[in-house]
């Protein structure tokens, strides 16, 4: 085997995949950016005219759904974290022989179609369902129904993305060496101190991954808002979908989509910088 061939092998192996991803993932982003600067309409045809006003117009028209999307996604992420962390902890540390069954239960929802899962919530939260009636009798349903409210949409998003939160946290908790916790207890740490100062910081990478994997897709989601929300619960995803597929107003749709992507990237950057240093500090605290 010649050295040249050996040096080429990885590139040959890599080529089909890299080609596919570059041509069908990276390049389309450029085309979307180009489309966002077009002017015209479906009848008159679209022309590339550096139409920056598309951005201004779209944002002023659709600022509300934009903010709402981040609100809902943010709320759902927080709730998913609050629900998901204890679950991940229980599976990792108290699972025992039930560990695999519990993990299985966490991913089981993914065996059903995303749409049907969400529609199942329409059934569960329907006005006549026992769940709604119970909540109503306790007084937790101000408007009279649960569906078509922000709460329903947030509940749907939380449900659909909960496994994305639980699994990364579980993975990082699983990796923690139990002897570290033992050592902490040997040094007179109470259970709570051991958790806060050892387990929690060590699980930080999992928490960061989980929150990102939940927040990012949730921000662009429109299925939950479509089925569980009302007319004033629309998220930016609904708008983009409507503009692309119903109105065929491609430039505006592309502009909004591009802004969504940009904002998410900024949020992720800031978050990683902030959370990265936190995790770093946490690890230092343990090492000290």
């Amino acid at each position: 085997m010649t050295t040249t061939r050996r040096r080429l092998t990885p590139y040959l192996l890599l080529f089909p995949g890299a080609f596919w991803l570059i041509v069908f993932f990276v390049v389309p982003m450029y085309y979307m950016a180009r489309l966002s600067l077009d002017s015209g309409s479906l009848e008159t045809g679209f022309n590339f005219t550096w139409e920056w006003s598309n951005y201004g117009d779209a944002l002023s028209l659709y600022g509300d759904p934009f903010l709402r999307a981040f609100e809902y996604a943010g709320a759902a992420t927080v709730i998913a974290l609050v629900i998901g962390y204890p679950l991940a902890y229980a599976i990792a540390f108290r699972g025992g022989k039930w560990k695999n069954a519990m993990l299985f239960a966490v991913i089981a929802p993914f065996f059903t179609t995303y749409l049907i899962r969400t529609i199942a919530w329409e059934t569960i939260l329907a006005d006549q369902s026992p769940v709604t009636k119970t909540l109503d009798s306790v007084g937790l349903v101000p408007g009279g129904h649960v569906l078509a409210t922000a709460g329903a949409v947030i509940a749907g998003i939380t449900y659909n993305f909960l496994p994305f939160m639980v699994l990364p946290i579980y993975a990082s908790l699983e990796r923690i060496d139990p002897r570290l916790i033992e050592a902490g207890k040997d040094l007179y740490a109470s259970s709570r101190a051991a958790f806060v100062r050892i387990t929690l910081p060590l699980s930080a990478p999992g928490v960061i991954a989980g929150t990102l994997l939940t927040f990012i897709p949730a921000a662009g989601d429109y299925v939950n808002a479509f089925f569980l929300g009302g007319t004033n619960n629309k998220m930016i995803g609904n708008v983009i979908q409507g503009l692309y597929l119903t109105n065929r107003d491609y430039p505006a749709a592309a502009a909004l989509s591009f802004v969504l992507m940009a904002v998410i990237m900024v949020i992720v950057f800031v978050y990683i910088r902030f959370a990265g240093s936190e995790a770093l500090m946490g690890e230092e605290a343990v090492a000290r």
Partner: protein
């Protein structure tokens, strides 16, 4: 010492029942909580299955009316549903084969070779997994619109599905490759096997469970995909797109039945893969392969009568 023990009062505090209950709760609180969350995760699945047995009044399947097996008997009687389902399955099959092939090759390259651009490639693989589907779908649609070709339909769907499946295949196969013992390959090569033979007879059988798992994952992702498909399907209807379209008019109960079937099939497939994996691990851990056995511990074929030469 003795004086001390004789005089020491017994300070055994009797824990009140309330304290005991509270203690028990505190210890098991997290398990109870986990149980509740798992119930929360599983309830909608139960609802889906339950409502496939419903006999709704009118077109909307939201209230429980009565138990019936009618919709199970006629589960494949709706032609639109059937063709959508078949389209989804066909699409998933093609997308799985292509993406698993491409993804496995990529994983091999990433794990086994140091090359220029390795970190960029890693990045390129992770980014699609973290991008909102709507951005992926919208940008692909923009791409197809501006280029004008291919026209939206099965082919664009296939392109899109392969695209988002590749990353997942790479990640799954890669994790399997990382734990791989290369000395087995070296041993094979020491015994005169060519690289091709080494790959087919040593490497491939051992990483096959990982490849299978990746393929199943790709298949499931493809059948389930809605957002990216919504944007790039043209007039082609996949199963999730059918449901979305039917949602306005009232989703037929047969859809719940089909969903239940898909759920069961996926469950069984997953269970099978897990069992396979356990079996392979157990075999690998048993003992080193004896003379004449292959790496998985399969016993040698007895020599043909009439004597084969040494």
């Amino acid at each position: 010492m003795e004086a001390g023990t004789a005089a020491a009062p017994t300070y055994v505090r009797r824990e009140s029942a309330l304290r005991r209950v509270w203690g028990w709760l505190r210890e098991h609180a997290i398990n109870i909580f986990a149980g509740l969350v798992i119930a929360y995760l599983l309830i909608p699945i139960a609802v889906i299955i339950l409502f496939s047995f419903n006999d709704p009044v009118g077109k909307y399947n939201f209230t429980w009316v009565g138990f019936t097996l009618d919709h199970w008997k006629d589960v494949f009687s709706l032609s639109e549903l059937n063709s959508a389902l078949l389209t989804s399955l066909r699409l998933a099959l093609f997308a799985t084969v292509i993406s698993t092939l491409i993804g496995t090759l990529m994983a091999l390259a990433l794990v086994r070779y140091q090359f220029f651009g390795r970190r960029t490639t890693n990045f390129l693989i992770v980014v699609p997994m973290a991008t909102p589907e709507i951005v992926m779908g919208a940008s692909l649609l923009s791409f197809f619109l501006i280029l004008g070709t291919p026209s939206l339909g099965f082919n664009t769907l296939l392109i899109a599905h392969v695209m988002f499946c590749i990353s997942f295949v790479v990640v799954v196969v890669r994790s399997r490759l990382i734990g791989f013992d290369r000395s087995l390959e070296e041993a094979a090569q020491d015994l005169g096997a060519s690289p091709f033979q080494t790959f087919w007879r040593v490497t491939f059988p051992l990483i096959f469970p990982g490849i299978l798992a990746a393929a199943l994952l790709a298949f499931a992702l493809s059948v389930d995909d809605f957002v990216v498909s919504n944007f790039n399907s043209g007039t082609t209807v996949t199963f999730p797109l059918y449901i979305f379209g039917a949602a306005q008019r009232g989703i037929p109960v047969e859809v719940n039945a089909v969903a239940t079937i898909l759920f069961t099939v996926t469950l069984v497939a997953m269970g099978f893969t897990v069992l396979q994996q356990r079996r392979a691990e157990r075999l690998a851990a048993r003992r080193p392969p004896q003379e004449g056995e292959d790496v998985l511990g399969t016993p040698p074929v007895p020599p043909a009568p009439g004597g084969a030469g040494g």
